[in-house]
Subunit: 265 residues, 2 copies
Amino acid sequence: MGELVLVKLGGSLITDKARLETPRMDVIQRLASEVHSACEEQEGLSLVLGHGGGSFPHRPADKYGTGKGLKGAHACKGIALVQDAASRLNRIVVGALIEEDVNAISVQPSSCMVTENGAISSAFLEPIELALKVGVMPVPYGDVSLDRKIGCSIVSTERILDFIARKLKASRVVIAGIEEGVWEDYPARKKMAGQITPENYEEMIGHLHGSESVDVTGGMRHKVERAMSLARDTGIRTQIINGSKPGRLKDAILGKKVSGTLIRK
Amino acid sequence: MGELVLVKLGGSLITDKARLETPRMDVIQRLASEVHSACEEQEGLSLVLGHGGGSFPHRPADKYGTGKGLKGAHACKGIALVQDAASRLNRIVVGALIEEDVNAISVQPSSCMVTENGAISSAFLEPIELALKVGVMPVPYGDVSLDRKIGCSIVSTERILDFIARKLKASRVVIAGIEEGVWEDYPARKKMAGQITPENYEEMIGHLHGSESVDVTGGMRHKVERAMSLARDTGIRTQIINGSKPGRLKDAILGKKVSGTLIRK
């Protein structure tokens, strides 16, 4: 296996913010096509392509408080609805990849991971390893989890990719969202952080709030926190880029220099 | 946890044989409603509800020889297409269960099991155990698998339920298909085996051929072989019933006496 790159397509990038459960099919198809052509261009490249859920699972997760554990009479209904919504979006993404001739398969996190107080405590990654070995692209996604302590929780795509990056020793991580990178002055969007390192991390994190839209997993702050923890522990770098700009995802996957924020040790 | 019953809804029962990838929505909805009312009637009942794929995954599995391992230039495409088709039908089944107020979640076998020369060699069942513990119904299904030796394979719902039955110590298994039970004189359908035991097994298996329709996992013979192996090894009984007859699935789940074939030690 060559270089292993983990990619996340942000939920807000691939779903319509304004309309519930509306995938942005044109964007999904273009991104799938960029993934395809990156893989064509760099032989031996292995990708795990995760994606967020956007408005699909976040609404039921929010309504039933699924991320906070099994509380209330309808908590089990929440588990079912969140998983269903997340998985429906996943089918759309995987379907688009297949249409672009990418041999992609779903990896359903609620089937292969469990959490303990919200943190991934155990996972079965052998299917991902075997898929990469034969040249099939695993596509995990933000999902509900069964939790050893609190019954249920939510696992964000960032947590999943973080877990996979550590276990499978990824080379790097690319997060494609709808922002140019990490803004120091959000929401003014005039000053972007080119790099976040342990030296400027505390200052940068101070600028960050949660995501604007309904996002039960914490938005940009969560992304930067996880990426810095990964960089500190393993040296693996994360690049946050704007997937709305055609061609940028492809270039980032190929390791070319693109506009965005690099989070490194 | 009370009694654990494993149920399989046959692929031919829930999909249209004549038309590719056409779910029989009326049948799926009725079966979902029977599952719901069985669970309402018997408190403490735990169900794992598996289902076959019918015409959804069998066609690409057949076309690409997915069950025979990674062979040929397009084998990886086969893996992707089989998984996609199986998972799309699963979303329909889980969606119907949710609509009937069953708190059901998918369990994606290709994410949580791997095979070795086609036999399940390792599986992560903790999500299923935790789901049952909180009262959520796991719904696995016949799927593609990544295989340690031959690259890929197909895992039938029977193999999956057999594996789960042994590991989680199920009380019994119910297989609902489109036949009354196991015919001794198929296709004449005049003489049905009431019971199959180690005493008459060899004679009975002699009567059985593979399934009529495209079924890469071997049809009725495969079901009876797996059920007898399970009965011999563990004492767990399997009942094969006709799910096309309204009410029969519910009665069988509840352990009532219904027409069909019982496979026991």
